[in-house]
């Protein structure tokens, strides 16, 4: 393989990693606070659709990105209200959001563009292909710092491990969890926005195509830690880039090559990561004792 191909493989891997990394970092905040976030897929779709729509109307991708962040945080707030306020099953609530966002973009695009699930294509000048990539990788050390070196990070980890103790120490468990869940929505939405106004130039229905779930797998593979999660995302991104580069050159059937990222997901999750311990209070609603 020539040098040019290796360089293009690397760039492709980084582009493919970006949306997953943003969603996985989002999931990290939520899950470290004790709230399972299986809704990453739906949150990405919410961000992707909002970004494409608002960019189309304003002509400014930065406004679109800001709107996507807002939309992601708001949708995540719904998940938060269900899980924190009403103590609903967190997996069920997340799944509901995923299903909801198969339908909502179709409904809204019907109202805005007389289409069902796709937005008009944006001109090249209205795309932000670089910023989300830089942001995604910059957020890894930032997340590490927030998590391990700030009071907020300490509280976040505390409510995810032992909410009773945190509560006794005077931490408002619900407040921290709400913040974490909304932050996760905002980050996943940036990942989605990258898909619609960074990598491509329109929203197509269900365009996240499972990336939110792979992000979740990367988060578990990365043991809920920022740097390891990034490495896991890079591994998946690299596998997908490799499958793209290998298709059509080698004699291996396409179907087999396209299996690579998924087989890799199963293999690493089933065998190679050793014991991955979830935050102790993950999935458990917190009921303040009176």
């Amino acid at each position: 393989m020539s040098n040019i191909l290796i360089v293009s493989l690397l760039f492709s891997a980084i582009r493919l990693t970006t949306p997953m990394l943003l969603a996985a970092l989002g999931g990290l905040y939520s899950e470290r606070s004790g709230v399972i976030n299986i809704a990453l897929e739906g949150l990405m779709l919410a961000g992707a659709f909002t970004a494409a729509t608002i960019t189309h109307y304003t002509g400014n991708p930065w406004v679109g990105l800001a709107a996507a962040i807002l939309a992601g945080a708001l949708v995540a707030l719904v998940h938060g209200v269900a899980c924190i306020q009403f103590k609903a099953d967190q997996v069920v609530s997340g799944t509901a959001i995923n299903i909801l966002f198969l339908g909502i973009p179709a409904l809204l695009s019907g109202a805005f563009f007389e289409s069902t699930g796709a937005t008009p294509q944006l001109p090249k000048g209205q795309l932000i292909p670089m910023a989300p990539i830089v942001l995604a990788f910059a957020l890894v050390p930032v997340t590490w710092y927030v998590l391990y070196r700030t009071p907020f990070g300490l509280r976040l980890r505390a409510v995810g491990e032992n909410p009773e103790a945190a509560d006794t120490a005077g931490v408002d468990v619900s407040r921290v969890r709400y913040l974490a869940v909304m932050l996760s929505g905002a980050l996943a939405a940036i990942g989605g926005a990258y898909l619609s106004i960074g990598q491509s130039s329109l929203f197509a229905r269900n365009m996240s195509a499972g990336r939110g779930f792979i992000a979740l797998a990367a988060l578990i593979f990365g043991k809920w830690r920022p740097v390891q999660t990034m490495l896991a995302c890079l591994l998946f991104g690299f596998a997908e880039a490799l499958s793209i580069q290998m298709q059509g050159v080698s004699q291996i059937p396409v179907q087999f090559i396209q299996l690579i990222p998924y087989v890799l997901t199963i293999v690493v999750l089933a065998g190679f990561i050793g014991h991955s311990r979830a935050p102790r209070a993950l999935g458990l609603p917190y009921q303040k004792k009176r």
């Binding site: 563009f113 090249k124 491509s200 130039s201 229905r205 269900n206 195509a209 793209i244 298709q247 179907q255």
Partner: protein
């Protein structure tokens, strides 16, 4: 405290479901209200009617028919493959006169539903059924693809051309094989790189992956890429614009999508086919069986318009026209990948 909240949320959910169900029934009931008009229902495939390509062509056709004939037209766009059949049955149940399924994935569904409603008429695009009340509308995509393959091979400066297919299925291989044969006919030394977005329905709606595939092909030297991938193909258009290469559109005339970068489009006149079948029905001439659309009737072909007239030199066009005539006369045989 918890117990009080449950009825409230439950009530909201029920209200939502009732609202959705109500609006759906309403539409059908309204449509069913006018017994004099011929009623046509169309079920799109997962690309959705705004894919600017295959489904969009079908939608144009039925809209034109609705303008020309006194028909009642309703469409359904199932979001996932599992809701195709309920959508089709819903039309059949309320007595629609013609129900059109768009896309090969609906072939078994049309067969099943048409068997249960033998007095109603059905049409399937890109699929074949033996039932007497089903019209199978199929296209010779391989022949149209042969022509765009020739244009690609005559345009490339690197001697490498690409193909990005959507879902890896025999129907799309038909495009790919025709394209490759056409490219070889124009330049025996041509290198054709082919990629598919995926192996599930999601492959039609993944422009990000479509773009990555195109970028990888451009990295390997491709400077003309034929995209037959629904919405995913629009990612190929983005890549062509970004790297200043050429893309060839599919199904609908997509020359306008990125003017200057779209060499031509392999049009598949799904619009004409559905228009024709509706017109047959309205004029009581509906016939089941196989209806083939190819080069002689303009069912497939190349799109030339103001957006690409400067991109293709006259001698290339002349060569393409000659090849077209030879294919029609049977002097050039293009392999049909679905008959292998």
């Amino acid at each position: 405290m918890l117990r009080q909240k449950v009825p409230w949320t439950l009530g909201l959910c029920l209200a939502l479901i009732a609202g959705l169900a109500g609006s759906g029934c309403n539409n059908l009931a309204k449509a069913a209200g006018d017994p004099k008009k011929v009623r046509v229902g169309i079920v799109f495939d997962s690309g959705g009617k705004d894919d600017r390509s295959f489904n969009a062509a079908a939608y144009r056709g039925v809209k034109r028919a609705a303008k020309d004939f006194p028909i009642v037209l309703r469409d359904a766009e199932p979001g996932d493959p599992a809701s195709l059949e309920p959508a089709m049955r819903a039309f059949a149940e309320v007595g629609y006169d013609l129900i059109i399924g768009i896309g090969f994935a609906q072939t078994p569904i049309v067969e099943a539903v048409a068997k249960d409603y033998p007095k109603q008429n059905f049409a399937i695009i890109d699929g074949v059924s033996d039932l007497p009340n089903v019209a199978s509308l199929i296209f010779k995509e391989h022949e149209g693809s042969f022509l765009v393959g020739m244009i690609a091979a005559r345009t490339t400066k690197t001697g490498v051309v690409g193909f990005v297919g959507g879902m890896d299925v025999p129907l799309i291989h038909k495009f790919e094989v025709g394209y490759e044969e056409g490219a070889r006919a124009a330049n025996p030394k041509i290198v054709v790189i082919q990629n598919y977005v995926g192996v599930t329905e999601a492959a039609w709606n993944n422009p990000g992956k479509g773009k990555e595939l195109a970028v990888a092909q451009i990295g390997k030297g491709a400077d003309v890429i034929f995209a037959a991938a629904g919405n995913s193909g629009l990612g190929v258009f983005d890549a062509a614009e970004q790297y200043q290469k050429y893309v060839i559109g599919v199904d609908s005339n997509q020359n306008w999508v990125k003017p200057g970068f779209v060499l031509t489009s392999m049009v598949k006149r799904v619009d004409n086919a559905v228009y024709q079948i509706i017109s047959d029905l309205v004029n009581h001439r509906f016939k089941g069986g196989i209806h083939v659309y190819g080069l002689p009737d303009g069912g497939v072909g190349i799109a030339m318009d103001q957006y690409n007239e400067k991109l293709i030199p006259p001698d290339v066009l002349r060569q393409v026209e000659e090849a077209k005539a030879k294919i029609i006369r049977g002097e050039i045989k293009v392999t049909n990948a679905m008959e292998k």
